[in-house]
């Protein structure tokens, strides 16, 4: 069924749930469609005028259709209550604890992605968009000691494999949307509000970050952002490296 639907490569934990859920729904859809289509064709064939010159005033009798509608309703209810609601609740209510996760702040802009890592101290410095200037594009409060070791990158995101990633997402200008297809994650980046989302990458490699919301004439071109999933060691070295250069630029 995955093949039939053509679902793309999967590389995150919860993505398995997404895929299975999509597959269940498509089973229901295909069942309904094929069933109805068969009935439809058969009816058209059987009751064509040449075969059935005099129409029957009453038509179909019995309550089969009512049962059918009830069954559809029940299946939908099961999908809804059994899967959709709890699965979504898990996405938005049960975040992994920040201690056990890689936390990244993502700030979208026309037309690129800014990433902020807390650096070795594990804490983000203060950020306020009213502080934003061309030389301080992310509105970081440079007097806050915690910002000293924060790492900022443009279009270059690194995360360790097999560890939850929490992305705090916002935008400086218009609405964008952070989407990594293989991670089965999508979340709009909306200015004036910072929304978290999370996923656990399960496969090392390079992934392209899609901007999934029309954000201007460069929307199609907002494709330079990549996410590199790598081993924990590699990731740590990367952060340390970046943190040094980042701190230097603060002086």
């Amino acid at each position: 069924m995955e093949k039939l639907l053509g679902l793309p490569v999967l590389a995150s934990k919860h993505g398995q749930d997404v895929d299975s859920f999509i597959i269940y729904i498509h089973w229901l859809m295909i069942l309904l469609f094929v069933g109805w289509l068969a009935f439809f064709c058969w009816t058209l064939f059987r009751f064509r005028r040449s075969n059935h010159p005099k129409a029957d005033y009453v038509g179909a009798k019995g309550a089969t259709s009512t049962y059918l509608e009830v069954v559809v309703a029940i299946i939908e209810a099961v999908l809804l209550i059994g899967f959709a609601i709890p699965l979504w609740a898990k996405r938005v209510d049960e975040f992994p604890s920040e201690k056990e996760a890689t936390v990244v702040r993502v700030v979208a802009q026309q037309f690129g992605w800014n990433f902020i890592y807390p650096g070795p101290d594990g804490e983000f410095g203060r950020q306020e968009f009213n502080l934003l200037t061309p030389s301080n594009p992310l509105g970081q409060d440079k007097n806050d000691p915690k910002s000293k070791d924060d790492v900022t990158t443009l279009n270059d995101m690194h995360v360790p494999v097999d560890k939850p990633v929490i992305v705090h997402l916002t935008s400086k200008d218009v609405i964008h949307s952070f989407k990594v297809i293989a991670m089965r994650t999508t979340q709009d980046a909306i200015p004036g509000i910072r929304i978290p989302t999370w996923f656990t990458p399960t496969r090392e490699g390079r992934y392209q970050i899609n901007c999934a919301q029309l954000c201007g004439n460069g929307h199609y071109n907002m494709s330079l952002g990549f996410m590199t999933v790598e081993s924990a060691e590699k990731f740590d070295t990367w952060v340390k490296e970046k943190s040094k250069t980042g701190a230097a630029s603060f002086e």
């Binding site: 639907l5 793309p8 469609f33 109805w36 979504w88 949307s177 392209q208 919301q213 004439n217």
Partner: protein, 599 residues
Amino acid sequence: MQTTTKDHHDVHEHAHHEQSFFQKYVFSTDHKIIGIQYGVTALAFLFMGFCLMLMMRWQIAYPGKPLPLVGTLLEKVLGTVAAGGVMSPDLYNSFGAMHGTIMVFLAIVPLAFAAFGNYVVPLMIGAPDMAFPRINMVSYQCYAVGGVIMFVSFFIPGGAAQAGWTSYSPLATAIPTQGQTFWLVGMIFLITSSLLGAVNFIATIIQLRAPGMTWMRLPFFVWAQFVTGFLLLLAFPPLEAAGIMQLMDKVAGTSFFLPTGLAVGGELANVSGGGSPLLWQHLFWFLGHPEVYVLILPGMGIVAEVLANNTRKPLWGYKSLVYSVLAIGFISFIVWAHHMYLTGMGTKISTFFQTTTMIISIPSVIILTCLFITLWGGSIRFNTPMLFALAFLPMFGIGGLTGLPLGFNFSDLHLHDTYYVIAHFHYVVAPGTIFALFAGIYFWYPKMTGRMMNEFWGKVHFWLSLIFMNLVFQPMFAQGMAGMLRRMVDGGANYSQVMAPDAIGNLTTGIMGMNRHISWAAVCLGLAQIPFIINLFWSMRNGKKVESDNPWEATTLDWQTPTPPPHGNFAAQPSAHRGPYEYSAPGAAKDFSPQNQTA
């Protein structure tokens, strides 16, 4: 001024003046003329929306290549946005936004609701005209003005609106050109037109039903129009409010939809801030969702009429149909946020909207089921209107069923803003509503002109349309499932394996290749309309003359008038003595018993 009086069956007919061409065809207050005005204008816009889309499809299939045939023309007319005959991203976004806007607000709604509604509803309920003929005329004029404003906006510096038909703030205000301003002003006119139209339709249906035409004797089409009227009446004003606010943001520098700390182009924007971008989305989709039912309900109504007529039997489950359509009307006001699942939703609100979305799919299932079962036991005539009406059913079925995975937050996670969504809604509006409208045109054409459209070319039109519609939209499901995003100037090339061969999960060449197939299928789809267009004009003079006023042997009152119906519609006040679909009634002499037949 000379007056003429006609005498029909000894009944004194309403005296009316000899009218000039302008009075008769431009400033007419006759619902039939206004219906035709709407129809012609809307078809022209349908054609325009299609042309915009063809140019976009070329760009998607062959990114960066100059447009064939029209490239140089575009460059001449529009300037640098089409430099070298190549579509720039700005132009693509304009065309995308305007394709959506034109198709929805200037083509389908005016055609389905206003044109068919105007022509057919008063006839069906046995009324001489709409309740407020002059308001009807103003309504058309507002529509025309709105259309002109939208059209003109292509030619202003910077071109038409570029923020999608959804016009999300802050993008809509952040784009420096004035296209959005035109869009907003145009929309205010279109909304006014729809509101006046809605008031008129509802009042007409409530007040002008002929004696004996009780609510449960109304043809289903009238019910569909009635509910559609309410959807327009109550869902459009919030968009109007939002439009006014966005207009203020655009021209008066307010911040209704702009949050504090907004920085466009790296500098803090010079606005007070304090607004909310999500507020726009709520107000837009509060209209947006009911609007999609505005697109489909009249179509369903037409299909129901055609089905009953050509199966020669009553609609199955008339009452369920009526209650379902009422239920759709009610619930459609409380599902809107399913378009906003990925703006960030907590469990509670997401649960609410998922639940209502699933609930609203049930009445749709019921309607489709009733229409299906209507076929059972019929004596089915396969004429052109019937073919289109029949095709509507599975096509709407595909569109509707694919709404289900979008209706769950958790699966929308993967599908949101991909071509899956595009395919979903085009299946409902293009092979769905457009087919229903074709059915309606073929069906009521003899009433409007006194001549039939050509059957053979009608069938050619049908089969070609059916095939190419599916060739256009079916592959889009696959593309969407693979993660191809909508509103991409390059058709997703930047996210393909060609651009980044090492990136995992990028679009394969197979998926990318479909772009070209789809585009050529769209070209063929356009060519398939040629028989229709020729047929439409040719039959006006040369079509087979109808032998009676009721060529389809239909039961509803619209067929019990002279052809074409005169000013005032009926020679004498008709009255209804039975339900709308008394076909093949046991004991009746003929296989149809018109509603106004006494015994």
